[in-house]
């Protein structure tokens, strides 16, 4: 399949106008000796063949698993209008809105997106999105170093292990120190954190609900770090904010997280989007694009990219980050989702996740030898202690079509029997009963 429209006649005319006799003359600047002689790429597919081809590859995946797998990435319902709107070519085949007069659609939508992020997190200002939650945490920590002129960060061990790994990859070659405080009963070890905050601490990173699903109130930690002139970075599962105390209410300076749960499919790991929001006084250290409201020269409301002097295309190596693109279309899906479910739906969906997870726990606790590891309340995910090896249990459950959760031994080998189970609003009572029943059989038959 070709998408070039040139006819033979046109090519001849164009070459004549340019004043060359062949297309290959246009490549004369490439030294002969370096040219590609052999280019081992298959023959073209027709459009019909390509779709057949991918349908065939797709059959090699098994996608009818009953999902109780979370770990920061969840199987939530996506309203049909999210797909319909994000499939509008005017959104998805446009580029970065550098020419505001030709991009008011994207710009106003991003302003509404930033507003939605602030509305759910209780913060003052958000950017137009980052790549994902993990790189978002890294950007937030780098931001805290710039804001405080300090170079030490304390991270709560109950932060998502994926975020921790990305943070290490970003910082390990630089002159910064990361101190990780191991979790205590799948929650935050406050005493240890309190003892380590000092005048060199730029920030503390906490997560709510944490990786193990545990809910916390970090106001005391916010007070502690503020007293020492540092910042609180709180990462959140945005959907939980339909219920939970916001980072703004907690006193966080920077909040960041992954927006997958807001209207985006799991899609084998991406594209997702990262959101980041701050107190207004920190806005000039925010990385990435920001949209602002202004007026056009006739006084009409208009939206533009603003505070661009922070960014790489102007400040080059002195920019707040190297980031150029945002996850525009994916972030807009988040906006469409939040608008479609609205003020009430946002509360309903959070509450259903909470309710169903607690019902699931009740059912699972009926299995002999199964107990709950979280000491504090949890949201829609919890850690079970199984009477047998969690990894083997998960494998057996998979063969029965159920993805029962994540064995924590993937991250901490000593947690042999611990299983992280997640439940979303999509799981019906029947499916939950099936999980409990199958797990009982797998464990004891």
């Amino acid at each position: 399949m070709k998408y070039t429209p040139h006819t033979e006649t046109e090519i001849k005319e164009m070459l004549a106008d340019i004043g060359v006799s062949s297309v290959s003359e246009l490549f004369k600047d490439i030294p002969e000796s370096l040219r590609t002689r052999f280019f081992d790429i298959p023959k073209p597919f027709s459009e019909y063949e390509i779709i057949e081809h991918f349908q065939k590859i797709g059959k090699k995946n098994k996608t009818d698993l009953l999902l109780f797998t979370g770990g920061g990435y969840y199987d939530h319902y996506i309203p049909s209008a999210v797909d319909a709107l994000s499939s509008r070519a005017e959104f998805y085949t446009a580029y970065t809105p550098y020419q505001p007069e030709a991009a008011q659609g994207t710009l106003q939508s991003l302003y509404e997106y930033q507003t939605a992020v602030c509305a759910i997190t209780g913060m003052d200002a958000a950017n137009a999105s980052l790549y994902d939650g993990g790189t978002g945490v890294a950007e937030a920590v780098l931001m805290s170093f710039r804001l405080t002129n300090r170079n030490k960060v304390i991270i709560d061990g109950s932060l998502n292990p994926i975020y921790k790994k990305i943070l290490h990859t970003y910082l390990d070659n630089l002159d910064f120190t990361i101190i990780e405080i191991p979790h205590q009963n799948y929650g935050t070890n406050r005493e240890k954190i309190a003892s380590l905050i000092d005048d060199d601490t730029a920030s503390i990173v906490v997560q709510n609900p944490n990786f193990f699903g545990t809910i916390d109130d970090f106001q005391d930690i916010a007070d502690m770090i503020h007293e020492k002139g540092g910042l609180l970075i709180q990462t959140v599962y945005p959907l939980s904010l339909g219920m939970l105390k916001t980072p703004g209410e907690t006193g966080a300076d920077i909040t960041v997280g992954d927006g997958q749960s807001l209207g985006n499919p799991l899609s084998f790991g991406g594209p997702y989007f990262g959101f980041i929001a701050v107190k207004i006084k920190h806005i000039r250290q925010l990385p990435g694009r920001i949209v602002g409201e202004t007026e056009d020269k006739n006084g009409k409301r208009a939206f533009v990219l603003t505070l661009q002097a922070r960014e790489q295309h102007i400040k080059r190596h002195k920019a707040t980050s190297n980031i150029c693109s945002n996850q525009n279309l994916i972030a807009l899906r988040g906006l469409f989702y939040l608008s479609l479910i609205g003020k009430k739906g946002f509360q309903v969906v959070a509450s259903q996740n909470y309710q169903k997870a607690h019902f699931t726990l009740t059912e699972l606790l009926k299995i002999k030898g199964v107990s709950l590891k979280n000491k504090n309340p949890f949201f829609n995910e919890f850690v079970l202690e199984l009477p047998k090896n969690a990894s083997e249990t998960v494998e057996k459950m998979l063969s029965k079509g159920i993805a029962a959760g994540i064995p924590l031994s993937l991250y901490t080998p000593e947690d042999k029997n611990a299983l992280l189970v997640s439940v979303t609003e999509k799981r019906t009572k029947e499916e939950i009963m099936k999980l409990a029943e199958t797990m009982g059989e797998v464990l004891w038959n």
């Binding site: 000039r284 661009q308 002097a309 922070r310 102007i314």
Partner: protein, 125 residues
């Protein structure tokens, strides 16, 4: 009171050991509408040509360098909310910071108003 200029278009007005620093009218015109001045902190000590602070317009960001070594003793807090003062009066109301000059000797590296005028003419030709 004497005024001196740098090749990077900063000016410094000297009275005893105090120097008032800003950017030249030419620099302000080049930057266009100034939107933000990142004021230095009081007490900061600087060597000559070290970055004193940053300044931003809509599509540009520049550093302002210390014309001579010294310690920041006062900043123009007006600029925090009304950076446009620099566009209106770059060499008057739009001053940025005052420093206690470490060594008056360093002033001889700078241009006087006539030399700076000549320097600008050369730049434009």
């Amino acid at each position: 009171m004497q005024t001196f200029y740098t090749k990077d278009h900063e000016w410094i007005k000297v009275e005893n050991k105090t120097g008032t620093i800003g950017i030249s009218t030419f620099a302000a015109e080049q930057l266009g509408d100034i939107t933000y001045v990142e004021l230095p902190s009081i007490g900061k000590t600087l060597k000559m040509k070290e970055v004193l602070c940053g300044i931003e317009s809509v599509k540009a960001a520049s550093d302002i360098y210390a014309p001579v070594s010294g310690k920041v003793i006062e900043v123009n807090e007006n600029l925090e909310n009304t950076p446009e003062v620099i566009n209106q009066s770059a060499e008057g109301e739009g001053w940025i910071a005052k420093i206690e000059i470490a060594s008056l000797d360093e002033l001889k590296n700078l241009m006087n108003p006539d030399q700076y005028k000549k320097y600008l003419e050369d730049l434009n030709s």
